[in-house]
């Protein structure tokens, strides 16, 4: 995993120990004599004073000037530095000194080597002459910096070498008159780990990020990147952080893409902050110069699998019990050659310019009064647009006695649509409103109760058991002529069984006269509190046929009689084995609507095998991809056409392997195969060669489905890292982890491929 500290190869613990407290000083020797303040000691002399320990066969120590000089092979230890030398002298009180013929090791950074001369210039600063510097253990150093002079400053955390030669396994590779490098975790301006690679879209590429540490709370990174097939690109990132505001600017400019034949650029901005403790803002903006931008210039899956770029600004004001927010949201769509079915099946989402939402809920118990109100202006070219106003007052009663709980809610929803541009109604294959004003009023009542049991199993695990029941009534109103702006069918899971609307959004409120029965059980190991197992099972049973439906929505998990049986489980008795499964079974048609099963065997840092199968029946409209003649730039063009009434089923097997081979090699492989189309979706192989803890070489090869056309792209990346001469860059696994199938949520990486958070 990404090692972040520079203490990579621990040095052998020094044979001396620091004096217990700073003030006492002791001088012990086989023989010692004292004559007018000069103590001459011989034979296993051991001097401790002022946080330093000096041992030598012979020491002359002047008590007045606290000068100690020793020869015949001395050992010297102080906070952060241990060295042995032929001879040397130390001013113990001023902590300065010179040592000749030394072997040193810097304790906290693991740096070590030999030096003809070491001058200690007072606290935390040392000057080494004719010295070797490396963090590699053992005689043959994987990498070694030998220089005429090296200054180490533990205060600034920097090392500076003059007339330095970098040797890899003793072979001189690189000479530089001056090199400045970090010796601790502090941030420092300078080049970060370069990345070399090649991909089918950009050919050979080299990226060498340069980091500029402007201030503790803002910094910049420039990423010059050379691509054989496309030319020179400059990327940049500016991050800032204040007490209540933080955010980031990102940009990439490719002045002339030789393959594409035009300038290409990307801008990204994100910000979040508090104007006052009660008023917050959040902004997000991404723009690319052309629709193929990510497809051509990024091999990070989170980018290549995106087809809309969000641009939104949201202002939120809160008081206890009150929340008011105004959102303005627009999108840049990346696939223009798209023949949708109109309405909600269009590649361009409706813009919300603006959406104002008010949520009132009294913070009281057992009764609460609430009101949810929302006004939205939906806008999209060549489509029916609308002002939608929705008001939902509600009354809640709820009580919780630990061993049981019960709550109920009555609500009355009033929705009004002011439709515009009805002339485009024909564009929507499924919903054609005929008048421009629609009103809808829907009452609803919900009663929900549950019991909480627990018991302790023989092996000490605590098992909880929570049966739960909910009755839901939602009035019926024919909504087939209401255009759909933000409604859709949600993937059915256990929580969804207890929600008060089987559709997301507001444009479709599902009628209901139903009971939900569910049971959830959890197994917890008492001392660590870790959840070792979880099971939940439930279903909605409807007393009447469900009449409100969503046209052309494939599998929703509901039919006239209620919902699928939904079962979920997780079992992880130890860190070495975790398995998860989620099932949705349609008893009426006797087939599975959804099945996801994954298993992880092995430990995160050593062997790990990931197995996964995912099956989503009819999860989205089927589509045909047809090739169009190339565009003016010679780029391939593909057209996507949705097929009404047909749906795509997702059925994929995934196998992931991480295996250390011996102590130096780390192999990562991942393979994802679509059973439905018996076609490879992603194959990936990564190798991290780590001959010693201070040096690593990485290579990763990836073959994956590109965007919009199912064409297979591939990328190969190399990275060489001299650990100790710069923070350890991301290991192959994290380069890989950013993509699909990794089990752990990744924090944002800071390497060259990811100056932009995935949109």
């Amino acid at each position: 995993a990404a090692g972040s500290n520079t203490q990579c190869c621990p040095v052998a613990p020094p044979p001396l120990s620091l004096p217990a407290n700073g003030d006492a000083s002791t001088l012990v020797a086989d023989q010692a004599s004292l004559a007018n303040d000069i103590a001459t000691a011989q034979g296993h002399v051991h001097l401790e004073r002022n946080g330093q320990t000096l041992e030598a066969p012979y020491i002359r120590y002047n008590r007045k000037t606290s000068e100690a000089s020793a020869h015949g092979g001395l050992k010297y230890l102080r906070d952060g530095l241990y060295l042995t030398a032929d001879k040397g002298n130390v001013n113990v009180d001023r902590r300065t000194g010179e040592f000749d013929g030394t072997h040193y090791s810097v304790l906290d950074s693991g740096a070590r080597g030999k030096a003809a001369r070491v001058d200690s210039l007072g606290d935390n600063q040392y000057r080494l002459r004719d010295a070797d510097y490396s963090t590699c253990p053992g005689p043959t150093k994987a990498w070694l910096l030998s220089a005429r002079r090296i200054d180490l400053n533990r205060q600034t955390g920097r090392g500076v070498a003059h007339d330095a030669t970098l040797k890899i396994y003793g072979v001189p590779l690189l000479y530089t008159p001056y090199i400045n490098f970090p010796i601790d975790n502090q941030r420092h301006t300078g080049f970060l780990t370069p990345t070399i690679g090649a991909s089918s879209k950009s050919g050979f590429e080299l990226a060498a990020p340069y980091y500029i540490n402007l201030a503790p709370n803002y910094d910049a990174t420039l990423v010059p990147r050379v691509m054989a097939k496309r030319g020179f690109q400059l990327g940049g990132q500016f991050r800032y952080l204040t007490q209540h505001q933080k955010g980031e600017f990102d940009a990439q400019v490719l002045p002339y893409d030789t393959h594409y034949g035009a300038e290409r650029d990307l801008e990204h901005f994100e910000h979040i902050g508090q104007l006052t403790p009660h008023v917050g803002i959040q902004a997000n903006y991404t723009r690319v110069s052309d629709v193929n931008y990510f497809d051509d210039l990024s091999n990070d899956l989170a980018h290549t699998s995106t087809s809309q770029l969000d641009r939104s600004f949201e202002l939120t004001a809160v008081q206890p019990g009150v929340k008011f927010s105004v959102l303005a949201q627009d999108f840049q769509t990346l696939n223009n050659y798209f023949n949708g079915l109109g309405g909600r099946f269009d590649n361009e989402p409706y813009r919300r310019l603006p959406q104002a939402t008010l949520n009132l809920l009294t913070p009281t118990a057992p009764f609460q009064a609430g009101l949810d109100a929302q006004f939205t202006n939906f806008q999209r070219s060549d489509s029916v647009n609308a002002y939608r106003t929705d008001v939902r007052p509600r009354l809640i009663w709820g009580t919780d006695h630990g061993s049981w709980f019960a709550n109920s809610e009555a609500a009355y929803r009033i929705t009004h649509y002011d439709l515009r541009d009805l002339k485009y109604a024909g564009n929507d294959l499924y919903v054609q409103p005929d008048h421009n004003s629609i009103n809808r009023e829907i009452p609803s009542f919900r009663a929900d109760a549950g019991l909480r049991f627990s018991r302790t199993l023989e092996n000490g695990w605590i098992q909880t058991l929570e049966p739960r029941m909910q009755y839901l009534f939602v009035g019926y109103q024919n909504q087939s002529d209401i255009p759909i702006f933000d409604s859709g069918s949600a993937t059915l899971n256990y929580d969804q069984l207890f929600s008060s609307n089987r559709y997301t959004g507001i444009d479709r409120i599902g009628d209901a006269n139903q009971v939900t029965l569910g049971v959830s059980s959890r197994f917890v190991s008492p001392n660590t509190g870790r959840t070792v197992g979880k099971l939940d099972f439930g279903r909605v049973t409807s007393f009447r046929n469900l009449r409100v439906d969503l046209p052309n929505s494939g599998v929703t998990g509901y039919d006239h009689h209620g919902s699928d049986y939904v079962a979920g489980g997780m079992f992880s008795p130890s860190d070495l084995f975790t398995t998860r499964a989620t099932l949705g079974y349609d008893a009426h048609r006797a087939h599975l609507d959804r099945a996801v099963a994954t298993a992880t065997i092995g430990h995160r840092d050593s062997y790990q095998l990931d197995l996964g199968y995912r099956y989503y029946r009819d999860y989205r409209p089927a589509r045909r991809i047809t090739r169009l003649p190339n565009n003016s730039n010679g780029n391939r063009r593909y057209e996507t056409t949705l097929i009404p009434g047909q749906f795509e089923t997702l059925s994929q097997v995934a196998i992931g392997l991480r295996a250390p081979i011996g102590s130096r090699l780390n192999v990562i492989a991942r393979w994802n195969y679509s059973l439905k189309r018996n076609q490879n979706i992603e194959t990936l192989a990564g190798l991290e060669y780590r001959p010693s803890c201070c040096y690593a070489a990485r290579v990763a090869w990836r073959h994956y489905v590109g965007n919009q056309n199912g064409r297979q792209d591939n990328a190969i990346m190399f990275q060489f890292v001299l650990r100790g001469l710069g923070r350890f860059g991301n290991s192959v696994s994290s380069f890989v982890q950013k993509d699909v199938f990794s089990t752990t949520p990744q924090a944002r990486s800071t390497d060259t491929f990811d100056t932009i958070r995935s949109p």
Binding site: P19, A32, N213
Partner: protein, 58 residues
């Protein structure tokens, strides 16, 4: 080479530089104290005998 890391508000450095050891007292200052170094050596006085002294390792 540079080094990138998380931002922090001025004064809240997650990786503080090594603290300076409190500066040594100037030699003159502890004159009286050094008259009587606590080690056994002083008890030997001017005696140059090659006796093997007990080392009072802390």
């Amino acid at each position: 080479c540079g080094q990138k890391g998380p931002l922090y508000l001025p004064g809240h450095n997650p990786n503080p530089p090594k603290p300076l050891i409190k500066p040594a007292k100037s030699p003159g200052q502890d004159k009286d104290e050094s008259q009587k170094p606590s080690g056994d050596a002083s008890s030997q006085g001017g005696d140059n005998g090659a006796s093997h002294s007990q080392s009072s390792t802390p």
